[in-house]
Symmetry: C2
Subunit: 408 residues, 2 copies
């Protein structure tokens, strides 16, 4: 039986330690450097942003994974500066920090994965980052508090720490998956193999090899982090990293594999939900269920078109059941369908029935269900058998304020 | 010599009359039915929305143009109701209104082009529309005041009437092109042949046949209405209609063709600019100049990705030179380029120079140029020789207020 938690895991995956320190990179003075270390090289699966513009740590992380055959000893994350569009100098900063972590833990530099999140185009102060490594090493530990400290230090405009865990037993041995994520704006991930300034770190103690782990991660990400959007803006730094220590003594095969896959699905979907729920200025989380599409890709394209439509998003902010905007949002996606075959339900209420407003349409009732923080919009295109789900949110004054905030 | 005006044309194209009346379709009680009539059947070129969901008048207008070989006697426009997603009943309303106009002017119903703009999914009250036709006929006239009345009645959330005209002389004979447009939200046109709740009506008295007129319109629209975005939401009703009466006695060939093409470019670009300038909540109009692309289509895709990025649009609202968002917006478009070859100028100031922040970058100076209502962002991708321009705007609190306004 799978046990899932977003707050208090019964235990953490064996073989890892976590820490955070304050290096002075965030202007707020909050913890901004997070370090995770595996006791021995862990098997790694990863996905990074598909944005054409990628940050130095993303470029370097891909190289390191390739060089080691996906073996990772340590992950060094800084928040407050994306180290993106920083040229050769930015790449050197990332390289130096990996080398310093390697020195600190007696491993080669390419067993270290760097990550950064924050402002683009401003040089990352290398001394601050390097000076943080020894204190971070001294602070490492394997308790919930240590893991939570890691999850907290990676936050930027996030208002909540985002963690999730799942565990299951096989023959008396417990396998645990724990993960954390950050991201509240510039969220429209398009992650590719090996891939997100959404940052997601997942740790497990299942025994598994990389050829098995990478496709499991890709499938899970496709239905979680690749199926969410806050503003449709794909970051230059998005990263999802999954490390497996093998320390549970349970091999990912048979029933254990089935359970691990379920655990990965639960944890990634929970972390993805938490990102949207904590999105900048969000007051409504909207689950789109698109069915009756010719292909899953068609369904996804239509879901994204609605998810990122300013007119749909503003209507949701006031619980306005303006279903015409939903249809228009679907229709502009470029995927062929026939409006006379389409049905739309909002929060379970039929609003549009094959070409016209539903006879039973009740605007006030619809407004009522949309007044909840969470609601579902289900659209059947009547064009096939494929379906998908997608999580998105409303567009509010607060989003504009957060992102237009500029002082000379 | 071409004379261009956005306010007071020296004269109007010969062979047309215009009128508007108040039919009670707009809740505001303002004029909401506009009628334009050609003395004799005019040659028509048209483009309609590529949204998969199209309003009844769009469906019917396409049919009518096909049936008559692009001959048009009258255009009947209502504002306040889009007659979209209104099923068979909606189509009947549009048909009945065309038949009634046909009766009133002694022409066949398919020489009448219907247009609607406003809320989607609410039945259009047919009696109000039919009752408006006789008063509109009685109000027809060929003065500036009549044309302006037509341009005013088609407005919805627009705050300004949008008109433009151009004229030129050939052998003492004057050719005139006058047009009007409406649209302030749900503006992200993708117009296809024959194709936009942007509505644009253009009237000219040049002599031309439809085989010549349609490609001229398509080329002009591609660089004007298809090169603008307010919110990226492509409407179900977008329409551009160009009518040529031939009454100037000047045939569109040789120098006259060159001048007519120039006039069409000037008028469509002016009307497109006026739409963005009057966009919902707009405080900055931003001209994107994308160059160094492999193809014009690549340049257009990148321009649209930036134009519709909420993070770019919110930064513009506060004159924030956050060029990292520009790069990220370009990079998420899916078009390959190398950031180390990219240069970015904002208002003529170099901000990003082949991979890193420009040495000369001066944030305060940049903020200063962006404080103007109009500014240009020029991005060279260093990936080829193709270029395009695109007009867009910022995203403000006011946009959210306008579109989230909902009362139960």
């Amino acid at each position: 039986m799978l046990t899932v938690s977003t707050t208090s895991p019964a235990q953490l995956p064996l073989g890892f330690r976590w820490a955070s320190v304050t290096a002075g990179i965030k202007a707020s003075g909050k913890p901004d450097v997070a370090l995770a270390v595996a006791d021995e090289p862990a098997v790694a699966a990863a996905m990074f942003t598909k944005n054409q513009v990628t940050a130095a740590p993303v470029q370097l992380g891909k190289k390191h994974l390739a060089a080691t055959g996906h073996k990772v000893r340590a992950v060094l994350v800084n928040a407050g500066n994306a180290n993106c569009c920083t040229g050769e100098q930015g790449l050197e900063v990332a390289q130096k920090s990996c080398a310093a972590v390697g020195d600190a833990f007696g491993c080669v530099f390419d067993e270290v994965i760097p990550s950064s999140t924050g402002i683009i185009g401003v040089p990352l102060p290398v001394e601050k980052l390097l000076d943080a490594i020894e204190p971070a090493k001294a602070a490492l530990g394997s308790t919930i508090e240590h893991a939570d400290a890691f999850a907290t230090a990676i936050m930027t405009t996030d208002t909540k720490r985002k963690t999730a865990s799942a565990s299951f037993s096989v023959d008396g041995k417990v396998v645990t998956l724990w993960g954390c994520s950050k991201g509240a704006g510039m969220i429209g991930p398009q992650l590719g193999p090996p891939h997100a300034t959404m940052l997601v770190y997942l740790f497990t103690d299942v025994e598994i090899d990389v050829d098995q782990l990478q496709p499991l991660l890709e499938a899970a990400v496709d239905d979680s982090f690749n199926a969410i959007s806050i503003d449709g803006d794909t970051s230059t730094n998005d990263t999802v990293l999954l490390l497996a220590s093998g320390k549970s003594g349970v091999s990912a095969s048979g029933n254990a594999l089935t359970q691990f896959t379920a655990a990965l699905t639960e944890v990634t979907q929970s972390l993805a939900y938490q990102i949207v729920d904590d999105g900048e200025g969000v007051t409504h989380v909207v689950r789109l269920e698109i069915s009756g599409a010719a292909t899953k890709e068609d369904a996804r394209v239509i879901a994204k078109s609605i998810a990122n439509s300013p007119l749909c998003k503003t209507a949701w902010s006031s619980a306005d059941p303006n279903w015409g905007r939903l249809l228009s949002g679907a229709g502009k996606a470029g995927v062929p369908f026939d409006a006379s075959q389409v049905t739309i339900f909002i929060g379970g209420l039929l609003v549009f029935d094959r070409g016209t407003r539903a006879v039973s349409y009740d605007e006030a009732a619809c407004h009522e269900v949309m007044s909840a923080r969470n609601f579902t919009i289900a659209i059947d295109l009547g064009a096939g058998d494929a379906a998908t789900h997608f999580l998105t949110c409303d567009l509010t004054h607060e989003y504009v304020s957060i992102n237009a905030d500029y002082s000379t």
